[in-house]
């Protein structure tokens, strides 16, 4: 096995899945490294769960192949793949005790109860559930079921663990606690985790890398930093975090920057992977926290805008201003906000050149709008 092969533990090659007329997964290729915490992120119906089920072997891809640890497992049934899944509803067998649930995967490998016992005890300790072996699913809370599902999936020490929105059913505080617990377990064991979620915060905080999906297509694969700071499509930009979108016309394209006319103002934006030519209509995006209000420093882009809304959010303010038919949101921290500003007044908003990214106008339809 050469170095390149061992670097990636799981490879999805041109995976497509069709359900009659619907294409659930469209030509997806993903390479996942050994020991990586990899997330599939996207709104519901984006194909992330189907992709996960294809990796698990619970669903057959219409075309494409899956390589696990250098071996093509495309036609290997789920029960012979060295991968285990934590299901969204935990899928704890209700007719078996917790102990027997965890023994189940070992039993299927014909491991005797005696031999299995230390493994079961160890994995119960790992998920902090020692002493719960005799209980049944209905005697456990949601969080405890989740831990048992995790223990059961880990007891065979699989090459990779697949998690299908495992924290979706838990309340907020418990979810946050479980995020940390999961991340710790993943680090300790060094097992590859493939994590499906629609929660961007969860994906950003937990993952080493993320694939952002929509309508069966991967929009971007990258580290949380890349996804957040260099979104490759307006969809990624709008799905992860907050984003302002402004429409304008490119009036001058230089090798490193693009000059865009938005309403009556001229702004300078970073030139990126998209080819933009002079005179073209474009979409400019800038994150609210990169929009500064009445900055002391001189910014390359400054716009005079009318203050329309102030929302206090505990540790910061969300300030909305309007100019030339556009709304521009910005985030100002608690101390940085000058309370003398009145609604309807004109204030100066601005941003740095590298914080504004330009997309072709056709991609406007990609923007996710909530509410």
């Amino acid at each position: 096995m050469n170095a390149k092969n061992s670097k990636y533990q799981i490879k999805l090659v041109d995976i497509t899945k069709r359900f009659e007329e619907v294409i659930a997964v469209n030509n997806v290729s993903i390479n996942i490294k050994k020991g990586e915490f990899f997330s599939l992120l996207g709104p519901s119906g984006c194909g992330k769960t189907t992709t996960l089920r294809i990796i698990a072997g619970l669903e057959n891809a219409t075309s494409g192949s899956i390589i696990l640890g250098g071996k093509d497992v495309t036609n290997v049934p789920a029960y012979r793949r060295d991968i285990n899944t934590v299901f969204q509803d935990y899928a704890i067998f209700p007719h078996m005790s917790v102990y027997d649930n965890i023994y189940f995967p070992l039993k299927m490998r014909k491991i005797s109860k005696k031999e299995a016992h230390p493994k079961i005890e160890r994995v119960l300790r790992l998920v902090n559930m020692n002493g719960f072996g005799h209980r049944y699913s209905h005697q456990l809370s949601g969080g405890q079921r989740q831990r048992i599902a995790l223990a059961r999936a880990l007891v065979n020490e699989p090459q990779a663990l697949l998690l299908d929105e495992p924290l979706g059913a838990l309340d907020f505080k418990l979810r946050v606690a479980m995020q940390t617990a999961l991340k710790d377990i993943q680090k300790d064991l060094g097992i590859t985790f493939i994590y499906v979620t629609h929660d961007q915060t969860e994906a950003i905080t937990m993952s080493d890398r993320i694939a952002v999906m929509r309508d069966g297509i991967t929009h971007q694969i990258g580290t949380p930093d890349e996804i957040y700071n260099k979104p490759s499509t307006p969809f990624v930009a709008s799905f992860i975090g907050e984003m302002n979108f402004l429409e304008g016309k490119a009036i001058k394209v230089s090798p490193k920057s693009i000059e865009v006319k938005i309403s009556d103002f001229k702004v300078y934006c970073k030139k990126d992977e998209y080819k933009i030519s002079t005179g073209e209509d474009v979409l400019v995006s800038v994150r609210p926290e990169k929009v500064y209000i009445n900055s002391a420093e001189k910014l390359p882009n400054e716009i005079e805008s009318r203050l329309t809304r102030i929302v206090f959010r505990g540790d910061d303010y969300e300030i909305t201003t309007a100019f030339g038919g556009f709304e521009l949101r910005s985030v100002v921290d608690f101390k940085g906000w000058d309370k003398s500003h009145k609604l309807g007044g004109i204030i100066k908003v601005g941003w740095e050149l590298e914080d504004a990214k330009v997309f072709p106008i056709e991609m406007k339809k990609d923007i996710i709008k909530y509410g």
């Binding site: 049934p77 029960y79 899944t85 007719h95 995967p105 299927m108 999936a153 065979n156």
Partner: protein
């Protein structure tokens, strides 16, 4: 059946009362109804079973004779044992026939599930007697099956053993019992969440192991209920043995029936009826005990 309903009523009204003190009012109409159609006749029958028959008269003298006669006459308990054996065979055969069917329709079929379900329970809408007579025309010497076998040359003479014996009774009773087994089985199989089966596969169980360690135990409540229903339907039947059983195929129900009919010995018939009633209650209690895992998928 009556015991089952009574027990259920008792159970539910008990738990209900714990939660809502005055909600027993809701139970009054059904209690009156049950009292009239179930409890009073049973009490009458119970009293009747202790009465002494002398000559053609039913006296008011109370006696254990009717019950003792059951133990004294070997024909009675021999036929009871045979009825047991037949009812057991019927239940097992009906389960063996219904399980794959219920499994296939509830778990493998994506479309037309309701259509198939309806097709299986449709026979329940046809008169019981007509369905039994139909079996006579299938199994008889000049019946459908024998004509077919002779026509395709498998046999020259019609097969005599098809009708008027225990075999024909078991076949017809199984046929009658299938919907009663199918419905609870279908319901319990349909309730099993897909993800439990996915999880079993995912954790290394092949089709066979998934069936043995997940699907079968989770369908156990339906299995027990189906067994119980078909056992009781088969044990108490007297029309099928009468129509298709000949002399060798009679069952305990026929004896009870004849006591009320030709022998016109009501006290004896009541006593025998009560013995059957008691046995059915025991079977019910046993299956309720083992089948009381219905709540397993409820939460």
């Amino acid at each position: 059946m009556s015991i089952a309903t009574k027990e259920k009523l008792k159970k539910s009204s008990n738990t209900y009362r714990e939660r809502k003190p005055r909600s027993y009012i809701m139970g009054i109409p059904i209690s009156i109804w049950l009292f009239i159609i179930v409890i009073i006749p049973v009490v009458f029958m119970f009293i009747m079973s202790f009465k002494l028959k002398s000559g053609y008269e039913i006296t008011n003298i109370l006696t254990f004779k009717n019950y003792l006669d059951f133990f004294k006459k070997p024909t009675y308990w021999k036929i009871l044992l045979r009825s047991f054996r037949m009812a057991f065979t019927v239940s097992i055969t009906a389960i063996l026939a219904s399980y794959p069917l219920a499994y296939f329709i509830s778990r493998k079929l994506k479309k037309f599930r309701n259509l198939f379900y309806m097709m299986i329970i449709t026979p329940l809408w046809v008169s019981y007697l007509i369905r039994i007579i139909a079996w006579r025309t299938i199994l008889g010497n000049k019946g459908l099956l024998n004509s077919l076998l002779i026509n395709i040359g498998i046999t020259k003479e019609p097969l005599e053993f098809l009708l008027y014996n225990q075999v024909s009774v078991v076949i017809a009773l199984t046929y009658i019992a299938i919907p009663f087994v199918f419905i609870p089985l279908y319901t319990s199989l349909e309730k099993i969440p897909d993800n439990l089966i996915n999880a079993a596969r995912d954790l290394g169980a092949n089709e066979f192991n998934t069936f043995i360690s997940v699907i079968l135990p989770l369908s156990a409540p339906g299995l027990f209920t189906g067994f119980m229903l078909s056992f009781i339907v088969a044990l108490g039947d007297y029309i099928i043995p009468q129509q298709l059983g000949g002399t060798g195929g009679i069952m305990f129900g026929n004896i009870v029936w004849s006591q009320f009919g030709t022998a016109s010995n009501w006290p004896q018939g009541s006593a025998l009826g009560f013995i059957l009633f008691f046995i059915a209650a025991v079977v019910l209690a046993l299956t309720q005990k083992f089948g009381s895992r219905e709540g397993i998928l409820a939460e």
